[in-house]
Symmetry: C2
DNA sequence: GTACGCCCTCCAGCGACAGGAGAGTCAAGC
DNA sequence: GCTTGACTCTCCTGTCGCTGGAGGGCGTAC
């Protein structure tokens, strides 16, 4: 019979941990002195503890380890658990790799530009959203206000479910003849009018940046997010969205208090794999 | 001014999380109603929140994020933090990869052998330990008892600091003329006798398995651990140790109650990298 | 006598929230 | 003006695998 300290030295597992395993019922000492409460382990239990440690090193939770050990499962069941575990672990690994990739991409961005101009770009999944819209080719980006004017004229403004936004359908930047869509989110049940298109915004992965400032400085934020997309190994994959989180009436091009979100749909650009369904 | 629910929808951050960020002082709403306690956020704060999310996605803790945001640090400091972060993340990634490797290795082992015979092998670092020993070439492995006999004859048994063990110095399995060392752990201050060698066991990475059963079944455990070492991409790297956790007097070859730990020093066997210093 | 060196139990803390109870608040419809 | 239902508040608990510490008991060596 070994006292907990001896057992701890032999197994290289801390006394605290052994007590914890006792508490959660994972490894109970073969004998406990009723009077002193001293735990006594037998050498044979080292084998049991080894099994616990092995499963722990495979990434199983103590709860799962408990089930595995007491279930005494077949090879086939074990194989199943391991395959599940492998899938989980692959997911985790992927996440950690992506995280590392983001850190490295940012370091690279900083190295490239001497400017500290690294406004926060984040990756997120947009929520699906029904919207009403008018789509038309307009002379320039900043003329989209007229489309919104037409949209609001035909439209009961109270049905808006969030900030209105624009979709730029062109594949590249254009100085004129912009294929633009002025949109307003509406309720799911809304079906549209004759003059107004009604569609569902799909769920899609986007790189997003919040632009605070006048519209005539938007290009800076565009450059930032596009550089970020490139540095992170993504590829623009669908029309860019511009969400007017805060703007005024009448609309001005030089109002510093406006807040706009730019969303760039993206897909992975590594080894031909693709993400996104826009 | 946006109520927390609106802010949550716009940012896609849960209400709970927003309240938590308020509590820890990471993002306080611009206004809080004194009477109702309602939090009111301004659209501008979306930018702040975006910064928080960006840093979070880089793997920083909320604590660090708080420091980063309020410190308003220089490009050089930012670079430093990112490099530190990168190093940490690389470490984590390595761990997760190793974990996945172990899972896959075990799956492979199961696939190879139909037997469920997967006694727990774990990877650990041995602790440095001073020991007294006698080393000699003996006819066969099971003759090591005689060495221990000689060792104990010259040796005050009470100085033992743990279970005695053997070291097999041969590079490969031998049926005769085994280069064996019978060892007993002693206190750090112990300096040895004339007839007895005294040395320090170095800290080393080992694959370890607990064998429960008679000595004449030890080969099964040896096979298991050696297969594990191979499947996990390691290489035997130093003399194998056999630790007699439980044995009896007189020593027998067929006593089922004996417990023995086998420790196989290992080094990485991938791309020429090496671990271990035995 | 006392000073270690064990061992015990019980409680708090970590990090980043999620879930839920119980109660108050707000805006719209009647 | 009242009800209803959606929204919000605070406060408490739980997560996971331990670690650290307080406060106390027991046994042995000096």
């Amino acid at each position: 019979m070994l006292k907990i300290g001896d057992f701890s030295r032999l197994s290289q597992v801390s006394v605290k941990t052994l007590r914890y395993y006792d508490e959660v019922g994972l490894l109970k000492p073969t004998q406990v002195d009723q009077v002193s409460g001293y735990r006594y382990y037998s050498v044979v239990q080292l084998r049991q503890l080894h099994r616990i440690l092995a499963l722990r090193d495979l990434g199983f939770s103590l709860d799962q380890i408990g089930h595995v050990l007491e279930a005494d499962l077949s090879t086939e069941e074990l194989r199943g658990m391991l395959r599940l575990r492998r899938a989980e672990q692959q997911q985790r690994l992927l996440k950690e790799q992506e995280c590392l990739g983001r850190v490295e991409a940012l370091l690279q961005l900083i190295r490239q530009e001497s400017t500290t101009n690294t406004e926060a770009v984040i990756l997120k999944d947009t929520e699906p959203q029904r919207f009403a819209s008018i789509r038309k080719t307009i002379p320039a980006y900043n003329q989209v206000g007229q489309l919104f004017g037409a949209l609001f004229r035909d439209f009961p403004g109270s049905t808006a479910r969030g900030p209105c936004f624009a979709i730029w359908h062109d594949d590249e930047h254009k100085d004129q003849d912009v294929d633009a869509e002025a949109c307003i989110p509406v309720d799911e049940k809304y079906q549209g009018l004759s003059t107004i298109r009604c569609a569902d915004l799909p769920m899609v992965k986007v790189a997003s940046v919040i632009h605070q400032g006048a519209y005539n400085t938007l290009t800076q934020s565009y450059q930032r997010v596009l550089k970020w997309v490139e540095a992170n190994g993504y590829q623009v994959h669908g029309p860019i969205r511009e969400i007017y989180l805060q703007c005024g009436e009448p609309l001005r091009q030089d109002d510093d208090s406006y807040v706009t979100e730019i969303q760039v749909p993206i897909a992975l650009d590594r080894g031909g794999r693709r993400v996104g369904n826009y």
